[in-house]
């Protein structure tokens, strides 16, 4: 995992304590996602990676796994560059 993936994993691990989350594992399928995680995840991604999550980004596929979140961050950074 690269640095971005590791940071995402570290954040998500607070919610999946007894589970070693893999990069492509579906966090929704694991059943632990609630509104608290949803709100904090957006804030975490914005603050940690200095991007702005917008209304068009609200798609479950953008937040489904470590890889998906890292992909969203990469696209947002690419668009901003």
């Amino acid at each position: 995992m690269d640095d971005t993936q590791l940071k995402i994993k570290e954040f998500l691990s607070r919610f999946f304590k007894s589970h070693d989350l893999q990069p492509n594992e579906d966090i929704f399928a694991l059943g632990f996602v609630n509104s608290l995680l949803a709100m904090q995840l957006v804030a975490f991604v914005e603050k940690e990676f200095a991007i702005q999550v917008e209304d068009a980004d609200l798609d479950l596929d953008n937040f489904r796994s470590i890889d998906a979140i890292a992909g969203l961050i990469a696209r947002k950074r690419g668009a901003a560059a």
Partner: protein, 377 residues
């Protein structure tokens, strides 16, 4: 975390305090009895930039900093919680649009909301859905070129005069948020009277009967209406209510300090009685502690810290309970006078109770706050 306000924040607080003392506090009991605030007050709030002041400069607002925003809310609530609730709901809708609205929503609504030409109201609660927001029964159907909504909304604060409603409905079982203008066909607004607290908050019940709105009025997309759009609005609302509760507690302290010094029983001022001092001590310490929690939440919100959600809930939970406790003791200290309309403390008690119910009840906070704690350790 800085514990001191900046010179600008102190100056802003002095301005808010002077405005409340002159324009709000002397009339709050009358507005409470009339169950309405006058249009002229809204004009004065508009002139001062007190409505929608959290809207960024990019969208025509003042972009007031988070702490100054909190101080504004506290000082307004110190005079009248109904007026505070106008700021709360208007700013909740503005915040939700700013956070999750489309570019068109932001361009169409935020500049008018920043000038308070357009007032926002949140339409989430229903006759059968309060804390259990995901169980709302209002339905929105895709009719090709429009959404068609059917259902009822209740307890819509300032719904009587709002021009824009943030309405939540189910789209094929997925919660969704819609921006609905007052003139939308099929939307009926009826005043709700007889509420016990924040009586001048001009509550309304909304009926949506084949209410047809353009496709573009959907905020974000179905499935994110509660988890993100309502969550953003409610987080803003909790911050506002927390500061407002501090304002009530401070008003209780102000009233009791004066009353306990002037009122004499058994040959001495009430303030010389130790059991009265005990109640004053709790009030003095509680209001300081609640304000510190609000400041901490404000600083975290300003920095975009994910921990702000938990700290804002904690501030709202504590401050609303402090407001109720302080108001309860304030009535007790005032004795029979406290139960009369000659003193404002009975109003403070009724208004304080409201802060324990709105934007997540005390019990919802008690269920939720430990979840944050468990995730940290």
């Amino acid at each position: 975390m800085k514990l001191e306000l900046s010179a600008e924040q102190r100056a802003a607080r002095a301005e808010f305090r002077a405005f409340t003392a002159a324009e709000i506090a002397p009339h709050a009991d009358a507005w409470d009895r009339q169950e309405a605030i006058p249009r002229e007050l809204i004009d004065r709030l508009r002139q001062r930039g007190y409505l929608g002041s959290n809207i960024t400069a990019e969208h025509g607002g003042l972009g007031r900093d988070m702490i100054s925003y909190g101080l504004l809310t506290e000082e307004i609530a110190r005079g009248c919680s109904s007026v505070r609730s106008l700021l709360t709901v208007h700013d909740m809708v503005a915040h939700a649009i700013q956070r999750w609205g489309s570019r068109e929503h932001k361009e169409r609504y935020l500049p008018r909301m920043a000038r308070a030409e357009l007032l926002g109201a949140l339409a989430l609660s229903e006759p059968n859905a309060g804390s259990d927001a995901k169980s709302i029964e209002t339905l929105a159907a895709d009719a090709g070129d429009a959404w068609v909504l059917n259902g009822r909304k209740k307890w819509t604060t300032f719904g009587q005069i709002a021009g824009l409603f943030l309405v939540f409905a189910q789209v094929k079982g997925q919660p969704a948020a819609f921006l609905i203008e007052r003139e939308a066909p099929g939307l009926t607004v009826r005043p709700l009277k007889g509420i016990v607290g924040t009586r001048a908050s001009m509550l309304a019940e909304l009926t949506l009967e084949d209410c047809r709105v353009p496709k573009g009025q959907l905020v974000s997309r179905p499935g994110f209406g509660i988890s993100h759009v309502a969550a953003a609005a409610l987080e803003q609302g909790r911050y506002s209510v927390a500061w407002g509760a501090v304002g009530i507690a401070q008003a209780c302290l102000d009233a009791c300090r004066s009353y306990a010094a002037d009122r004499r029983q058994f040959g001495v001022p009430l303030a010389d009685h130790q059991l009265i001092r005990a109640m004053l001590t709790d009030m003095i310490v509680d209001v300081r502690a609640a304000r510190l929690l609000c400041l901490r939440a404000g600083w975290l919100r300003a920095s975009g810290d994910p921990g702000a959600f938990m700290e804002t809930m904690a501030a709202k939970y504590f401050a609303s309970r402090v407001a109720t406790r302080s108001a309860n003791d304030a009535v007790q200290i005032h004795g029979a006078n406290g139960l009369s309309e000659s003193y404002p403390v009975a109003r403070y008690l009724r208004d304080a109770k409201v802060t324990e119910i709105i934007e997540g009840s005390t019990q919802i906070q008690q269920i939720t706050i430990p979840l944050f704690e468990f995730q940290e350790f």
